[in-house]
Symmetry: C2
DNA sequence: TTGTATGCGTTATCAA
DNA sequence: TTGATAACGCATACAA
C-alpha cells in the first residue's frame, strides 16, 4: 500500500509537504507541488481514509439504518439520502434492521464502533428508545426518519400520519363506505399509531361506531404471520366493504390473501393503503393510496443531519419537519350508493 | 470519547491488558478480567474501529455497489448480500451508481480511500474496465455481480442470460408470435448483450428473420429518454404482436407508454420481460417474466468474496457461478392461432 | 516554503 | 500474567 512516505521519498520532500499538497493547505512552491502531484499519479496514491479519520476524529460517514430494504418507500428514501450525502461530500453506510429490534441493536453497536459522523434512522418502534439513548450517550448526532420515539427529543422528519389516516378514511366514507376495517402495523410504531388515530377520528366525525374487532395489529415488515392476518380477514363479517392497510407491504399481503379467496377488488371489497407501491404502480395504476414524499424524507433528513454535524458548536434548536401526503385516487375503491 | 487508556487507568492495569480482555487474546487472570470488564461497562466503552482498522490493516467492511437502488432485483440482491455479510461478521458499505459511469468512478475513489476489505459490484458496463483495473492495481478483492466485463478475470456471479433470452423468445414463438420486437439495455452491458443473443438465436432456430429496426438499445436505468422509446414504439409496424423488455425497468416504461397510447396488454400487444417486478407482482400477477434468483446473487456473491478474502494467501482458482432463471407464465402474453 | 516531533486509539512484539 | 514500546498512515503545532 502506497503511503505519503513513499511519495515523499520518491519526490525528495518530507511527508509533511506531501500532506500539504493533498489537502491544499499552507503555502507550497509551484515546483514542488507539481513534482509531488506527478509522483502521486505515478504511484497511484490514494489517501488512507482510515488513518485520516483517526487523526481528524471524523469519518465523513453517515449511517443510514432503515427497516425494510425491499419496501419502495425506504429505497426511495435511501436514494434521497444518498443524493444529499453526495452533495455534501459524505458517504453512506447502510443497514437494514428488518423491523427487528435485535438486528437494530447489533447495528447500533456497529455504528458506535465505526465512529460515523452521524446516523439517519427509522427506528423499529418505541422500544428503540434504549438504542437511541446509547447514541446520545456517545454523542453521535442522529435524526429520526418517519417514526417518532417517545422520550427522545431530536431532529426528525415525519409524515402527517394522523392527517393521512383521516383523509384516507374520509375518502372511503365519501364513497359511501360505513363498514371499514383496518389492518395496521404495531401500535408501538408512532406512524402506525397516528394512522390508526386518524382512522378513529374520521369514523367519529362521520358518526360511525368503531368496531375494535375490525382493527388488526400486525407488522409493517415482510415477515408477517400470514395465517394470523388470514384468520382475521375471514372473521370479518360481510357488512365490511372496505379495508385500510397501514402500509404498502400490508396492502400487498392483503391483496394476496383476497385473491386466494377469490375476492375481487374493488367489486367484492375495497382496499386502500398508506404509501405508494413504487414504480410498479405505473404498470397497473390500481391501488388508491395516500402517498408520502419518500425521496424528500431521505434528502431533507440527510441535509438536516449534516447541517447539525457541521454546526456542532452552535446550539441549534431541534427541528421537526412534517411532510404532507397526497391522496392518489385510482381503482381499488368501489363507489357505493 | 472513552479510550482504552481511560479503562486502563480506572482499572489500574495497562492498556495492553485491556486490549487483551477485549480481544480474548493471551492469558489473563480471571480477577483482572472481571475488573476490566466491569470498568468497560461502567464507562460504556466501545472500541474504536477506525484505530483498530489502521493497525490491523483490515476494516471488516465490504462495499456493495449496485446500479439502481429502486430496482427490486438489486434490492433483493442487496438483502442477500447483507445477510451473508452479517453471518460472517462483516458490515456493508453501500453505493448506488445509477447506471452512471462517472458516479461509479467516484465510488471507486471512495472505495479505495476507505480501505474496505472487498467489493461487490454490478458494473455499469464494459467501460467499467478501467475502474476494475484500479481495484486490481490496489489489490482490493472484488467480485462481479450480474454483469461480466471483458478483460477482467475474477470471481463472478451471473445469470444465464443467453439461455433466458432463448427461453423467453421461444415461449412467445410457442404462443404463435412471429413478429417479436425487443427493447434492451445498452449492448455494452454483458447481460443485455447475451439476452439479445438469446433472442436472435431463438428467432433463427424458429426460422424467423431478425428485423434490426425492431431492436432498440435503450438503458437499464430509470433515467431513460422516454421520447426515444416512444418514437421507436410508434415506428413498429402493426404485424408486431409482442415486445420483449430487457429488464423490469424497461418493462414498466413500456407498459406506461402503451397505456398512454390506449393499447391493451395482451389484447393489442403482448409484453414479457427479464427479472420479476418485486413483491408487487403479487398485487397483480400480470406480467410474464423470466425471473432470476436475485437474493442468491447477493448471498452467494458475498459468500464467495469473503471466502476469497479470508483465504487470501491460498491461490484459489477464480470461480464463476451461473444462476439459472425461471419462466413465470402469467397474463401478458396472448395466445395466437 | 519546508521539515521535525507528536499524537489519534489500537494491537503486536518483546521483555519482565 | 502483565507491561513498555513501537507501529499503522496521516495531520497539527511548531520550528527552521
Amino acid at each position: 500500500m502506497v503511503t505519503i512516505y513513499d511519495i515523499a521519498k520518491k519526490a525528495n520532500v518530507s511527508a509533511m509537504t506531501v500532506s500539504r499538497v493533498i489537502n491544499n493547505t499552507g503555502r507550497i512552491s509551484e515546483k514542488t507541488r507539481k513534482k509531488v502531484k506527478l509522483v502521486m499519479e505515478e504511484l497511484h496514491y490514494v489517501p488512507n481514509q482510515t488513518a485520516r479519520s483517526l487523526v481528524l476524529q471524523q469519518t465523513h460517514l453517515i449511517f443510514l439504518l432503515i427497516t425494510d430494504i425491499t419496501n419502495p418507500f425506504f429505497t426511495t428514501l435511501s436514494r434521497g439520502a444518498e443524493d444529499a450525502a453526495r452533495k455534501y461530500g459524505y458517504k453512506v453506510l447502510f443497514g437494514n434492521s428488518d423491523e427487528d429490534l435485535e438486528k437494530e441493536k447489533d447495528y447500533i453497536q456497529t455504528i458506535l464502533a465505526s465512529r460515523v459522523d452521524g446516523v439517519l434512522i427509522t427506528p423499529t418502534g418505541d422500544s428503540s428508545l434504549t438504542h437511541l439513548e446509547m447514541l446520545q450517550q456517545h454523542q453521535v448526532p442522529f435524526i429520526l426518519l418517519d417514526r417518532e420515539v417517545p422520550g427522545i427529543v431530536c431532529d426528525i422528519v415525519v409524515g402527517d400520519s394522523r392527517e393521512s389516516g383521516l383523509t384516507l378514511t374520509e375518502h372511503l366514507i365519501a364513497k359511501g363506505h360505513r363498514h371499514i376495517a383496518m389492518i395496521n402495523g404495531s401500535s408501538t410504531i408512532s406512524s402506525a399509531r397516528h394512522r390508526l388515530q386518524g382512522y378513529r377520528d374520521a369514523l367519529k366525525l362521520g358518526d360511525i361506531p368503531v368496531v375494535e374487532d375490525w382493527i388488526l395489529e400486525s407488522g409493517f415488515g415482510s415477515n408477517n404471520q400470514l395465517d394470523h392476518i388470514a384468520a382475521w380477514l375471514d372473521s370479518l363479517p360481510s357488512p365490511v366493504t372496505a379495508i385500510i392497510a397501514g402500509n404498502n407491504v400490508l396492502a400487498v399481503q392483503m391483496i394476496t390473501l383476497l385473491r386466494q379467496r377469490g375476492k375481487r377488488v374493488p367489486d367484492d371489497i375495497s382496499v386502500v393503503c398508506f404509501d405508494d407501491l413504487g414504480p410498479y404502480s405505473s404498470v397497473d395504476p390500481f391501488m388508491t393510496v395516500i402517498s408520502q414524499q419518500a425521496y424528500q424524507f431521505g434528502y431533507l433528513g440527510m441535509q438536516t443531519l449534516i447541517e447539525r454535524i457541521q454546526d456542532k458548536e452552535t446550539d441549534q434548536p431541534w427541528r421537526k419537519l412534517v411532510l404532507p401526503s397526497e391522496l392518489i385516487e385510482r381503482k381499488s375503491v368501489l363507489e357505493l350508493e
